[in-house]
């Protein structure tokens, strides 16, 4: 075998073993980057139950809008979810509420809203989409959207 083939074999084997290495780990707990177990879409979620903390803006006459992730923490939905959960877990729901309210204050799109709420929701996702059933919600923090203050 010539040098090209030896080099090719060594690189291919190292790459293949490295990429397959996550098989030795738990599919969820052992996930990492870039060597991944690729556990996406793999787990069962009984009743498609979803507990989630999220942020909404509310206004007069029942106006309600879910605040998008980029105004909460990050343009990435999953990272925003983790940030919101972490804020709630460390007892900072009120702080998160105020930070989001400050971001919404100068935005024209939120002129009709006067309050921000951090909500803990408990929903069944399939029932939500197929039968239109809403779950329960609990307000963890609420704060006004203060405009005109610098």
């Amino acid at each position: 075998m010539n040098a090209t083939r030896w080099y090719g074999l060594v690189v291919t084997l190292i790459a293949a073993i490295a990429v397959a290495w996550p098989l030795t780990r738990h599919p969820v707990a052992g996930d990492s980057f870039p060597l991944s177990t690729y556990p996406m879409f793999a787990t069962r979620r009984k009743d498609a139950r979803l507990y989630l903390e999220y942020v909404i803006a509310t206004g007069p006459a029942g106006a309600r809008r879910h605040v998008p992730p980029e105004l909460v923490a990050s343009p990435e939905v999953m990272q925003a979810i983790v940030s919101v959960h972490a804020a709630v877990a460390r007892g900072d729901a009120a702080g998160l509420c105020q930070r989001v309210a400050a971001r919404l204050a100068p935005r024209g799109g939120y002129r009709g809203f006067d309050e921000v709420q951090v909500i803990a929701g408990n929903h069944r996702a399939i029932a939500w989409f197929v039968r239109g059933e809403r779950g329960t919600e609990r307000t963890l923090a609420r704060c006004p959207i203060v405009r005109g203050a610098r």
Partner: protein
């Protein structure tokens, strides 16, 4: 064994490997540019959310803001040299390591994504093979003849893609067994993912609700997913099988986009499957058209 080795080291044109380099480099540049707003979103980088993965575990804590913002910018600069094939032997490994660190750092805040793994793994291999012997500043217009040194790297890249898909199939079997193919887990995942997006004020799939009403569709999609993932090695058997599998895998990601609004850009653009295909042909066609246009 000899036949297997000969097949593995079958010659390929230098342009095919160069085409993968060109496309991966250009993709990285555009991808990182579109992701820049995310790097500037300070709220995302709360120290309490830092869960270092992979090489980022070498850090004691989060990077200062300036260094954090420098990461994608430096990597973008190196992506330019990588795409151009400039000093490939020296700068390509630096680019690959920078990309590894940058994307690992980005994935170390909350949860790892699975949309960037193949990009990084392919870049790491391309950095240590002669991917700039054609269509590069290094080659300076010289044409390299087909050689086995351009063939095996393409197969190594293809093996990485294939193992990734097989691992995804195995993860489903390990967590849900063959019962995963009844479609219930997939249905639950699609419903949860869309509701999560709705509650977080993000765009969700406009057609997911319709699909969720039809359990037989979910069953068929789960079986199809498993066939694509566990059947990935068939792509190594023959060129036509590679093409058929690539189309099927691409279709899977189109389905994920349609039903969960999750974008796997590297796969959707087709780059994940480029090493399996004669990917130099569109670029050669473009170059020929350009030359003809200049010759007028």
């Amino acid at each position: 064994m000899k036949r297997l080795l000969d097949a593995w080291f079958a010659p390929a044109p230098a342009e095919r490997l160069a085409a993968v380099r060109l496309m991966l480099g250009a993709f990285t540049l555009v991808y990182l540019a579109t992701q820049l707003p995310l790097w500037f979103a300070d709220a995302q980088f709360h120290a309490g959310d830092f869960h270092p993965l992979g090489v980022v575990r070498l850090l004691d804590g989060p990077l200062p803001r300036g260094l954090r913002l420098a990461l994608p910018l430096v990597t973008m600069g190196l992506a330019v040299t990588f795409t151009l094939g400039l000093a490939h032997r020296w700068l390509a490994p630096v680019f690959a390591l920078a990309l590894l660190f940058t994307l690992t750092y980005r994935n170390s805040w909350g949860m790892p994504f699975h949309t960037e793994n193949l990009l990084v793994l392919h870049a790491l291999v391309l950095a240590i093979v002669p991917a700039a012997d054609a269509w590069s500043v290094d080659a300076r217009g010289r044409a390299a003849a087909a050689h086995e040194r351009y063939g095996w790297p393409l197969r190594a890249l293809a093996v990485i893609t294939i193992i990734a898909y097989v691992l995804a199939g195995i993860a489903k079997l390990r967590l849900g067994g063959w019962a995963w193919t009844d479609g219930d887990a997939l249905r639950e995942q699609i419903a949860i993912d869309n509701l999560r997006k709705h509650l977080m004020g993000a765009p969700m799939s406009p057609i997911a609700a319709t699909f969720l009403e039809h359990t037989w569709l979910m069953h068929a999609m789960a079986i199809g997913t498993m066939i694509v993932e566990l059947g990935a090695p068939i792509a190594l058997v023959h060129r036509r099988a590679a093409l058929a599998w690539s189309v099927a895998a691409w279709g899977f990601h189109v389905g994920v986009l349609a039903l969960m609004a999750i974008v796997f850009p590297y796969q959707l653009i087709g780059l994940a499957y480029a090493p399996l295909l004669r990917c130099e042909r569109p670029i050669a066609w473009l170059i020929a058209r350009g030359r003809r246009w200049r010759g007028r």
